[in-house]
Structure formats: C-alpha cells, structure tokens
Amino acid sequence: MTKFAETVLNGLALGSVYALIALGFVVIFKASGVMNFAHGSILLLGGWTVTATHQAVGFPLAVLCGALAAGAAAGLLHALAARGLRGAEAPVLTILTIGVDLLLVTALNARIGPDFLSTGDPWGDAVARFGGVAVTQSRLAGIVVSVLLIGGVFALFRWSRWGLSMRAAAADQEAAALMGIRLHRVRLAAWCLAGALAAVAAVFLAAFPAPGLDRTTGQIALAAFPAAILGGMDSAVGALAGSLVIGLSSALAAGYQEQLSGLGTGLADVAPYLVMVLVLLVRPNGLFGSKELSRV
C-alpha cells in the first residue's frame, strides 16, 4: 500500500510537470493552430539558461532568466513563422518548428556536452515523509509550483483582457480581428507564455531524483505530446487531465515493472504513447477536444 501511495504521488508530480509543458502546447495550438515541435529544445534552452546563471544571480533569479530566455525564443520562433509564411497551412508551420528544433537542439547539445548540469535548486535530495510514504521535496515543490502557475494561467484566460482576446481569437479569428483584436500580439503573448512555462518545467525535470539537466531533458517534452493530444489539442482542461493520466501511467509502469516484465523492459517510456493510442482509438479528437465540423 505504501508503495502504491508513493507511486501515485510520483505520478502526480510527474503529471503536474507534464501539465506545464502540455498547457504550453495547447496555448500555442489554440492561438496559431501549430503543433510546436520545437518545444523540447525551448525547454532545454530555458533549463540550460538556469544552469548557466544560477551561480551568478542565485536560483530564483536564474529561473526568471530561464523563463525569459525560453519565452523570448518562443516569441522569435512565432515571429519567424508568422512573418515568413503569411497564410501558409498549419502542417507546413509544424514542419518549420521541426527545422528550428534541429538547429536549437544541435546548438544546445554542443554547449551541454555529455555532462549533467545542476540547476542549483534549493531542494537537493531532501525527502519528506507522510506516515510511511516518502516523497522527495523537489517533487512536492513541483506539484505546488505547477498548481500555482496553472491556476494563474487559467485566471489569465478567464479574467484578463489578453485572456478574453485569446478566447475570442480561438473561437473565430476573422471576427476577432474585425472586433479590433490584434491577433499578432495575442499570438506572440501565447508563444512567450508557453516558452516560459516550459522553462519552469525544465527546472523540475532536472531536479532530484534526476541527476541534473542533460541533453536528453528536452526529449521528455515529447512525452507531453501524448498528454496534450490525449486531452484534446484545443482544450486546456484536457491538457491537465491528459497530463495526469500520462504521469500516472508512466509512474505505475515504472513502479510495477517487475510485475509487468512480460511486456518487456523499459515499458515506462512507451506507456504514454500506448495510452494515447488507446484513447485515440475510442475518441479521435481526444477526451475533451472539440469535433471538427465541416460545413458545405
């Protein structure tokens, strides 16, 4: 029972970090209709900025720097995509993000090398205990920070002027533009926000029990794809639900791998994709995604 509780807590912690990434995917998709394949490298850029600056300015400011760097990178990517490709289709823009990802990842990998870099986070390897259930402090911090940030983003959506513009733009671009909403600015803000969220996620992905930030950290963002798709690409609530499902299934597959050994080793890495395929078989637009309608 203790093990089950620990596994579930770990799954929730993992899911809440995925949620930061998946929410970024959804915000970008709602704003521009693009699936951002460069998100992993932007996440890596944010994390790398934190590792490079924390000794000079301290951890909290370093996270801010990382968020700014990642946000700026995402904003630049948007500017590139929007300027260069006026009127291009979404799949073409998606492939463009793959190209940018190749460039950014190669550049970052050359900087990071084969090492594990520390983000200088204050939690270290401390463990908190509730009864017999042990969980690392970094994971608890991950849950708390994610809940706060995601709550903040939802509040922005609901009550801020930008949130209103964003919802209007997502509902009907043309009508929104005619009402005086500057689509370009709304989209730019969405991309920057998504980048900043990814940077925060990078900090928690690199925290204990992971050995630190390394060149594969960006690939973890790929596991947030199934999370976003599972929930439905255009639903923020769906992204949260999807992330929790993916986090839990990943943690359960890792925690009970002896019992699941019949399915082969390393099942935890593919669990997100298996779950996603199963869900898509039943609901092709994800759990909360809106159905595509075509009117003739």
């Binding site: 998709f29 699936m35 590139l80 260069g84 490709l85 291009a88 979404a90 799949p91 073409v92 998606t94 492939i95 463009l96 793959i98 190209g99 940018v100 990802d101 190749l102 460039l103 190669t106 550049a107 990998n109 050359a110 790929l222 794809f225 199934p226 798709i229 690409m233 399915l263 082969g264 080793t265 390393g266 099942l267 890495d269 593919v270 994709y273 298996l274 996603m276 395929v277 898509l280 078989l281 092709p284 637009n285 994800g286 595509e292 075509s294 003739v296």
Partner: protein, 358 residues
C-alpha cells in the same frame, strides 16, 4: 528546359549512374546505396504527406518493419543464438517484407483514417516509440539491442555479396558486394520512380490531390475519400518497406537505434526540402540529406571550420554541421522557397491572357 534537353540530361544521368561502380570507391558506393534507400523511402512519404496531406512522423517505423521483415524472413532458422527466421530465398523474402510492411500499414490505416492533421502526426510519432520498444524486446525476431546480421541478397544463385562467385571481374574491375548491390538498388529506384509517376499522373494522383486540398470537395466530386486515404497510407508503407529492406542490405546489420525518431525527421526534412508533393524533388533531396553527413564526415579534415568527431577541437563536428545545414535548409526552404528544390527547376509561369480574364 525543352522536353528534348530534359530527356538528354536524364539519359546522361542514367549513364553516369550505370558507370559509377567502375570508377567510384567503396565509400562512395555505400553512400550512394544509402541514398538510394532514402530515395525510395522519401518517395513513399512524399505520396503520403506531400500529395495526400497526411502528416506522418512514423516513417522510421515502417522502414524498420521492412528491414526486420527481410532479415527475419530470410534469416537462418533455428540459429544457435536463439534467433528465429524462416530461411526463405532472399528475393522472395524481399518481396514478402515489402508486402508485410504494406500489410502493417493496412492494419493501421483504419486508425489513421479516423485521425486528422496534428492528431495523426502525433499518433504516428507513437508508432516510432512503440516500434523501438518492440525491437528492443522481441529478442528472438530482432536480436534485441545488438540487432542481427542481414543475409545477403541472392538472385537465383548469384549472390550480391563478396562471395559466390568470388573474385568476379567485370572489364578488369573487381565486382564485390557493393558493386553488385548497386545495380539492384538502381533497378529498385527506377521501379519506385516509375510507379510513383504513373500513380500520380493517373486517376489516383488527381484524387489524392483533391483529398489534400479539401476532403469535402473531393467527396462531392465522387472521390471515395476514406478509401483513398487508406490506400495512400498502404502505398507509402510499401515504399518504406522496400527502402527499409534495401537499407538493411547495405548496412549488413540491423540495430534498433537506426530506426529512431531522428530517421523519421530526416525523411520529413527530405520531402520538405524537395518541395511537398513532388516526387522528383523528394528523390533529389533524399540524396542531398543522406550524402551531406557522409561527405562532411569523409572530408572533415579538408573542410574549413569543421572539427573531427571526438578530437576536442573547436568548431562543430561533421554530424553537427550536417544537422545545422539541413535544419537551416528546412527553415530557409519553408520561408523563402516553399516549393523546395522542385520549385527551382520549374519554369515561372509566363503571364498569359488567361490570368487577366476573370
């Protein structure tokens, strides 16, 4: 270019390709064979993503099915290391491996048919990861992490390998495995190009283009959309199967690492650089994308700004430089020349009267 000069250029190109094994070194022959496998695979992806508009990130998975399918079907049965295989004649195994990949595509096409756009892209991404998991764990078929060696191709007793007949000389040039495999590869590429061209210029090609532009409009025009979408998926998989099996023959050993997400992205880069929807462009870009890292690695010492891998010197390593170059190529092609390589050869449409009449 006029039709005649086009044909002349193509004829000279074919002659050069036919003569290459008499002049080129093994390194170039091997690189060329990798490029041929890539050309076949890229044509397949071009039909699916370029012509029909279905984004697929799972091409590496289907290449793997083709490669492992060939190895398993032709591999020796009951080998000592616990590997299984059917031990079929290699040519038959090659054909069956292609069919097997098509079958895999056919089984998955009902799922693919339900998904649109990005959902399909990520669902096919899942295939790559699930495929990796299977390749690493199905030891008896795939050999696990270390992979398994590939039986050489054999055409009715004439082996496309260094042995049997050993020391073959053609016009005084030793004809080993690579030289013999070269012509097999050329034949496959020619077949692939011809089939794709005929497919696209006929009724199916028009229908697929209509499906890409608007499914509703295509359906109204009487195109069975679902059937064509899944047919495109199957055809694309057949190409991937042939490309994968050829790749296995050139590598002589298949390992799961080859067929990762990077390979899928390479293929996507090929069809984008070539120009979405163009078979010739995809083939040209496939050669470019495959040869670039090979050439940069082979000539790292002679090129400025490059550092040898692992030498610790400043500057990007050849592999990195290649990735920079084609990452930049994707971005530049998409922002500056959306038609890709294919667009460069096409004549700019002359302004005619028709454009001015409404």
């Amino acid at each position: 270019m006029s039709e005649i000069s086009k044909r002349a250029v193509a004829g000279v190109g074919v002659l050069v390709l036919l003569a290459l094994p008499f002049y080129a070194t093994g390194f170039w022959l091997q690189s060329g064979l990798f490029a041929m496998a890539a050309v076949i695979g890229a044509i397949g992806l071009s039909l699916l993503t370029g012509t029909t508009g279905q984004l697929s990130l799972g091409h590496a998975f289907f290449l793997a099915v083709g490669a492992y399918g060939y190895v398993w079907l032709s591999g020796p049965a009951g080998a000592a290391d616990g590997l299984t295989g059917l031990g079929l004649p290699p040519l038959l195994a090659f054909g069956l491996a292609v069919a097997l990949t098509g079958l895999a595509g056919g089984l998955l096409s009902p799922i693919a048919g339900r998904l649109r756009g990005m959902y399909l892209g990520v669902a096919t991404l899942a295939l790559v990861f699930i495929g990796q998991h299977v390749m690493l764990n199905a030891h008896t078929v795939t050999g696990g992490y270390n992979g398994r060696s590939v039986p050489p191709m054999d055409l009715f007793g004439f082996a496309l390998a260094d042995a049997s007949p050993q020391g073959l000389l053609v016009l005084g040039v030793p004809f080993g495995g690579l030289e013999r495999l070269w012509y097999f590869g050329l034949a496959l590429v020619a077949l692939a190009l011809l089939t794709a061209r005929n497919l696209l210029r006929g009724r199916p090609g028009r229908a697929l283009g209509a499906v890409r532009d608007s499914e509703v409009a295509a359906a109204v025009m009487g195109v069975p959309v679902a059937r064509y979408r899944s047919a495109a998926f199957v055809v694309s998989c057949l190409y991937a199967g042939a490309g994968g099996a050829l790749l296995a023959l050139v590598f002589r050993r298949v390992v799961p690492e080859t067929f990762g997400l990077v390979l899928s992205i390479d293929y996507l880069a090929m069809i984008v650089i070539g120009g979405l929807g163009s078979v010739g462009g995809a083939a040209a870009a496939a050669v470019l994308v495959t040869l670039l890292p090979q050439v940069l690695t082979g000539y790292a010492d002679d090129l400025p700004l490059l550092a040898r891998a692992g030498s610790g010197a400043a500057g990007p390593t050849p592999g990195e430089a290649a990735r920079y170059l084609y990452g930049a190529a994707i971005v530049l092609v998409l922002t500056l020349a959306p038609q890709g390589l294919a667009g460069l050869t096409r004549r700019r449409p002359r302004k005619t009267l028709q454009e001015h009449t409404p």
